[in-house]
């Protein structure tokens, strides 16, 4: 598959337009190449590697505009020099901004800051016919027009190529404290934390240990961590544990994302018994890794559906994915198909990846 790596949005648009009617695969940093449905081999791969500029960091406004191919880690370095950060922390190394938005990838601190949809305030996209369009803007508060950014979050590139994004930023935390406590069932501890006056950035559970992260002014972080320790036990440290927020699957295994109403943590964990796991424990999200066949997947789906949740196959070798229903049932899928038909009537973009829609 030939690859082009345009260096401007206009060139990107031209590459997409000139490829018509052939199919196109969009590639960012490649850190989540095995996510989603099995991608069909496309006639052209469009890489955002050369679109990696930070266009504007308006630090006084806590806003950054970056091209899609910029790597999150590089962006954080630049923002960090001004005491700011883009409050997204998906663990995939080498991930680009465009890929993170396209997959709606999230990490532990979504508890406090949300997911890409919550921080994206403006977007420039290139549709399958080469049309360049933009929505939102560069101010946080803005309700002019439809918010296309939200539709592109998690669309896996099927509505068009994300070319440039503008995000709301947050101040870098002054101090971090982590309370770690070993627990077989963290359900009660997480419930009492959610009802407590504390405002952790993250509450993570890895199957044996609950980690509660507090980020604030030093004195406030200390005070909160001490109070949290008094509430749930454990130890306070000044850093997160190793492997914090890491996805629990190994190469060659199936990785799943299961969601549930947030009050159902204990039964959700019971459903996940036998898997390695990483839970955004107070957000209703479980990442699971292990051996999965169609029967196991069906059982899990029935189990999580009882908590209004879903189970999607995130990552797996193509051979395994072909035997699985990657996305499972999708609520409102008819409307989604109509949206896709409007944006990409010939279904040229990232064929196979979001095959449910």
């Amino acid at each position: 598959m030939p690859t082009v790596a345009p260096a401007t949005i206009d060139d990107l648009a031209a590459a997409v337009r000139d490829t018509a009617p052939s199919s196109i695969a969009v590639r960012g940093g490649g850190s989540k190449r095995d996510w989603g449905g099995v991608a069909e081999v496309a006639e052209l791969e469009v890489s955002t590697a050369a679109l990696d500029r930070i266009v504007e960091h308006a630090d006084g406004d806590f806003v950054v505009t970056v091209q899609a191919g910029a790597r999150l880690a590089d962006v954080q370095n630049v923002l960090g020099s001004k005491g700011q950060w883009l409050a997204l922390d998906p663990p995939e190394a080498g991930a680009t901004i465009g890929g993170i938005v396209a997959t709606a990838a999230s990490g532990p601190r979504r508890l406090r800051f949300g997911t890409p949809r919550d921080l994206l305030i403006g977007v420039t996209v290139v549709l399958a016919d080469g049309t360049v369009a933009r929505s939102g803007g560069k101010v946080v508060k803005n309700v002019a027009g439809y918010d296309l950014g939200k539709l592109f979050c998690g669309a896996f590139g099927t509505l068009g190529v994300i070319a440039q994004c503008t995000f709301r930023l947050h101040p870098s935390p002054r101090a971090i404290r982590c309370v770690s406590v070993p627990l077989d069932d963290p359900g009660d501890a997480v419930r009492s934390l959610r009802r407590s006056p504390f405002r952790p950035s993250a509450i993570e559970y890895d199957g044996t240990r609950l980690s509660i992260v507090v980020e604030a002014f030093e004195s406030a972080a200390d005070a909160q961590a001490e109070q949290i320790r008094a509430l749930v036990g454990g130890e306070v440290s000044a850093a997160v544990p190793e492997q914090f927020g890491a996805r629990p699957w190994r190469s060659g295994e199936v990785g799943l994302k299961a969601t549930f109403r947030v009050g159902a943590l204990s039964p959700a964990l019971a459903l996940a018994r036998g898997f390695r796991l990483s839970a955004h424990a107070a957000s209703g999200v479980l990442w699971l890794g292990g051996a999965v066949d169609a029967g196991v997947l069906d059982e899990l789906r029935a189990g999580f559906a009882a908590y209004d949740g879903s189970v999607v196959v995130v990552a797996a070798p193509d051979g395994m994915k072909r035997k699985l229903d990657v996305w499972g049932p999708v609520r409102g899928v008819e409307v989604m198909r109509r949206i896709r038909d409007q944006f990409d009537p010939d279904r040229r973009m990232n064929r196979g990846v979001l095959d449910a829609v």
Partner: protein, 500 residues
């Protein structure tokens, strides 16, 4: 009644013939109390909170259930009759302006709170539930619903979803879009779809995200699942008086730069202080040319650290008086002045226009100086009340229509929006585009941008029956591809900025 029948010779107004048939059907199906056809009664629905635009609806229906909403929409769609949803009618952009040949569907009778699940941090309500009633439903458990538009005592959740409503505290807590996790929607063809629910991250496109803020143009929401959050342990409200707007603006920038994220940062200028004093005697610092209200909330330890920092910053920026609310009553007293500001304008001006624009926060001082200049040049007074933390201006343009000042006031109001665009901001931060600002959309977006947005519209409403004529300056035919216009962006063309 079909469109063909209504076009028969002799029909004075084809739309109205179709409506007569629908009215009879709706009376039969929903009962006479749910259908308004009387001209005088119809008139009470002729506008929303923006009274400058008026249109008497052809027919008003007040359904009581989601099924009835579905039925009404289905019949409208089958008859090619346009329809508009309306909640409490508090919108400020004419988003619920009726169509003369269409049906106005009033949702104020869908008021059930369907499910309160504090353990899941979710409440499921019908669209006619009043914003504040969501908080009331979970208050005993120590939770609240964060988006707090100033009309929250009367405005409904359905309207909040349509407009993506914000409020004073959205600086920290976000807008309606950040708090809605599930929707049941009657689509413009009358079918019912659900998106999202109690759990996060539903697979597929974020349709909930697309629907929130779509101003009623993509369907009618019949059930909303919202996130509620725990009431903060401690709240501190600071009132600071400054000798100039520049000093107050300086304080805001310093607070944000210090890494403090207040729940709210509100600013008022001398004219709005004067109006508020005359209306509610709020007792703001005497002689202040600007006041700042900074509200901090969160864990006690965090709030006390932030409070010390905010007080120090205000002092350094030149605040001559700083008050910290001692208790809840005190806090209410501080907010009373701010909250009364819009209504209080009636005391110092016969007429006024409430504008809603956004600029990057760092541009605030310059934009405020520009507005002052504009006011001086035109002789039209402008009072400034705004959410300073996020650069959301609400200039109140004061005029007297009996003295022929209307046109001049409108010109000033529009010029303020142009300033917002020139500074890279937005023509609306929370009131919506509606009917009022669609003419400005072409200054913020290219025709192609708007065409692409309308692809979403075409996916939902190919017949363009659902709240037609709102948001977009030029409706487009579904099926066309977005225009291949090669021209530069209007903002760029005018040398006002770079397209980002």
């Amino acid at each position: 009644m079909s469109a063909t029948t209504s076009a028969l010779p002799g029909a004075e107004n084809p739309g109205n013939v179709a409506l007569d048939g629908l009215a009879r059907e709706f009376v039969a199906a929903l009962g006479p109390a749910a259908v308004v056809t009387d001209r005088v009664q119809l008139r009470t629905y002729e506008c929303d909170g923006l009274t400058a635009y008026r249109c008497i609806p052809g027919l008003v229906v007040l359904p009581e259930t989601a099924e009835q909403v579905g039925y009404v929409v289905r019949r409208c769609a089958q008859s090619s009759v346009p329809f508009v949803a309306r909640g409490a009618g508090t919108g400020l952009s004419g988003g619920a302006l009726p169509v003369a040949t269409g049906v106005l569907i009033v949702l104020s009778r869908l008021t059930a709170v369907r499910n309160v699940s504090v353990d899941d941090e979710r409440v499921v309500v019908e669209p006619g539930v009043v914003n504040l009633d969501v908080s009331r439903a979970v208050a005993a458990d120590g939770y609240f619903y964060a988006p707090d538009p100033s009309s929250q005592q009367v405005c409904t959740i359905g309207g909040n979803v349509a407009e993506n409503s914000g409020g004073a505290h959205c600086l920290k807590y976000g807008f309606t879009a950040h708090h809605v996790t599930g929707l049941e929607v009657v689509l413009p063809d009358g079918s019912v779809s659900r998106f999202g629910g109690l759990a996060p991250d539903p697979p597929g496109y974020d349709v909930v995200g697309a629907l929130v803020g779509s101003e009623g143009t993509l369907g009618i929401v019949t059930e909303v699942t919202v996130r509620v959050v725990a009431v903060p342990e401690r709240v501190e409200t600071v009132l600071a008086g400054f000798r100039s707007m520049d000093d107050a603006g300086e304080a805001v920038s310093a607070i944000v730069a210090a890494g403090v994220l207040p729940a709210a940062v509100e600013m008022m200028d001398t004219l709005s202080i004067e109006a508020a004093e005359s209306a509610v005697a709020c007792g703001y610092p005497a002689g202040a040319q600007a006041v700042l209200i900074v509200e901090l909330d969160g864990p006690a330890a965090e709030v006390s650290a932030e409070l010390a920092e905010v007080e120090a910053i205000c002092e350094r920026a030149g605040a001559f008086e700083i008050r910290v609310a001692r208790d809840a009553d005190d806090r209410v007293a501080i907010w009373r002045g701010r909250k009364s500001a819009f209504a209080a304008m009636g005391r110092i001006s016969r007429d006024y226009i409430v504008q809603d624009g956004v600029v990057p926060r760092t541009s605030l001082p310059q934009v405020l100086r520009d507005i002052a200049l504009l006011s001086a040049e035109s002789g039209i007074r402008v009072a400034n009340v705004f959410h300073a933390g996020d650069g959301n201006l609400h200039p109140l343009v004061l005029f007297d229509s009996t003295r022929g000042e209307t046109a001049a006031a409108e010109a000033v109001s529009e010029r303020i929006l142009e300033l917002c665009i020139e500074h890279g901001g937005s023509i609306t931060g929370e009131h919506g585009v509606g009917n009022d600002k669609k003419k400005h959309m072409g200054r913020m977006f290219t025709e192609v941008d708007l065409d692409v947005m309308q692809l979403v519209r075409c996916a939902f409403d190919p017949q363009s029956l659902c709240n037609p004529g709102k948001v977009f300056p030029t409706p487009r035919l579904c099926g066309e591809r977005p225009g291949r216009r090669t021209g530069v962006h209007p903002v760029q063309a005018a040398g006002l900025g770079e397209v980002f």
